[in-house]
């Protein structure tokens, strides 16, 4: 930054001495009123200047303001005039010991550089390659002007909270969130079983096989078919349509249930119909349920 600083000083001097007397420098608008005074002639309260400084969004904004104020055309940017006015402005800020953003000094350096390049005599063989040193700055000013306009347009765009409000309608009490249950795949289930079994000790008889499964399934089925309150005819537990295998599985399941006292088998006399009901302890359970 020290290089930039030193570059600012001489160019500011040059700007002041080389150019003809200009219009009074318009500093800024305060509450819509243009402040057009030569800064060195007029005491500006520091507060007011801070307002001025804050009203610019940086050096490009200040430059645009200066150009527009003087009714200059951006594309034919009179670099000497603009530079001189810019430097005066920067000087005032320095005099008032306002904290000057580095960007303002950098712009001062750019302006000085452009001006000096314009002053240098051109060598004829360079002419083809040499572009107007102002071109880049002009491009940036045009671009910034567009952004500035876009920001204003955006600000005037109807927006929520200020111009439009979203509606708020309550539901009646009968609306309740719907819970979406997680998906489980068969593979996950089988793997979970294999993991559980893997951890279990080998001597424990946690068995798995097709027949065992269907017997156990049948056991569950029978338990849900019979009640503790009344007897169910044994034959109603069989489904002849299943064939021999089905009947055997059902019979095995009944035997297993009887063995575990989950099922009570009752026969009134020889050759009488056999009835089943849930184990005696089930009775209390069923009644209370």
């Amino acid at each position: 930054m020290s290089e930039t600083d030193s570059a600012t000083e001489p160019s500011a001097v040059t700007a002041g001495s080389n150019e003809p007397v200009q219009q009074p420098l318009p500093l800024a608008f305060i509450n819509g009123e243009a402040v057009i005074e030569k800064p060195q002639d007029l005491y500006i309260p520091p507060d007011a200047l801070e307002v001025i400084l804050e009203s610019f969004e940086g050096p490009l904004d200040l430059l645009l303001y200066l150009i527009r104020k003087q009714k200059f055309d951006i594309t034919t940017l009179p670099i000497a005039d603009v530079t001189r006015q810019y430097m005066e402005y920067v000087e005032v800020m320095r005099e008032l010991r306002l904290e000057l953003a580095a960007e303002y000094l950098l712009m001062a350096a750019i302006l000085a550089e452009i001006k000096s390049r314009l002053l240098l005599p051109r060598r004829s063989d360079d002419d083809d390659d040499e572009e107007d040193p102002r071109a880049e700055l002009i491009r940036r000013l045009k671009e910034y002007e567009l952004v500035k306009q876009a920001a204003e347009d955006l600000d005037s765009q109807p927006r929520l909270e200020r111009d439009i409000f979203t509606v708020h309608v309550d539901t009646t009490e009968s609306v309740a969130p719907v819970r979406v249950e997680p998906d489980v795949s068969l593979q996950e289930l089988v793997l979970a079983f294999s993991q559980a079994m893997k951890r279990a000790e080998a001597f424990e008889h946690h068995t798995i096989e097709r027949e065992a499964l269907s017997t156990r399934e049948r056991m569950s089925m029978i338990l849900s078919m019979v009640s503790a309150a009344q007897y169910t005819p044994l034959e109603s537990l069989f489904t002849p349509e299943e064939g021999k295998a089905g009947v055997i599985v059902t019979f095995l399941a009944i035997l297993e249930l009887v063995k575990e006292s989950l099922l009570l088998c009752v026969q009134a006399g020889p050759y009488a119909r056999i009835h089943v009901k849930l184990g005696s302890h089930e009775e209390d359970q069923q009644d209370s349920a």
Binding site: F165, T166, V167, H168, V169, D170, T171, T172, S174, V175, A176, P177, V178, R179, V180, E181, P182, V184, L186, Q187, E188, L189, V190, L191, A192, F193, S194, Q195, A196, M197, K198, R199, A200, A202, F203, E204, H205, H206, T207, I208, E209, R210, E211, A212, L213, S214, R216, E217, M219, S220, L223, S224, E260, S261, L262, L278, G279, H281, E282, Q285
Partner: protein, 215 residues
Amino acid sequence: MKKINKTQLKQLVEAALFVADKPLSRQQLRETVLSEFTVSERALSEVLKALVLDYQPRGIQLVEVASGYRFQSLDSLSPWLSLLWQETAPRYSRAMLETLALIAYRQPITRGEIEQVRGVAVSSNIIKTLTERDWIKVVGHKEVPGRPALYATTRGFLDYFSLTSLSELPSADAFAQMAEETDQAATASIQKEAPSELTDRANEINEAKSVTLND
């Protein structure tokens, strides 16, 4: 105080009732959106009545509640409107899946028996969740002290997994193969289990089982 025509009054009152976060009373309407205007009590009543009528055939209704007027959805639409608020439940834990698997493969089974295999307690929450999902149910009680409930899977469980019967559940032989596939897919849950070990264990289990069945 300015005048306001009926159309504007209706629009303003309507919009106010819609954008407010809570019901608005006549008083509140007068103190806010209507504060600049001269509006007779009768004019306001008429506008409110007209609005109530306007919305009668629509999906939302203007109703008067204790604290004022508010728009609310038609009660009969609630079953579908509820679908706007879907809470996705978190994925099931390993404990949940193992419990379900044990009930599926070893039914009817008590909670104690599940705990014995898993080596850890089964939380009531797991049983509750599986019951609420209609995947498991109590089918009886075991004749041991405490008469613990015996759990089995439901028809809903079979339907969910597209099974016609429990015998269609993949058998022990399928474990090793599945584990292998899963290993390749690098699923974290099963990664540690070497496929060969699993096969051995599955065989052991099969042997142990045949003894049980024969006694």
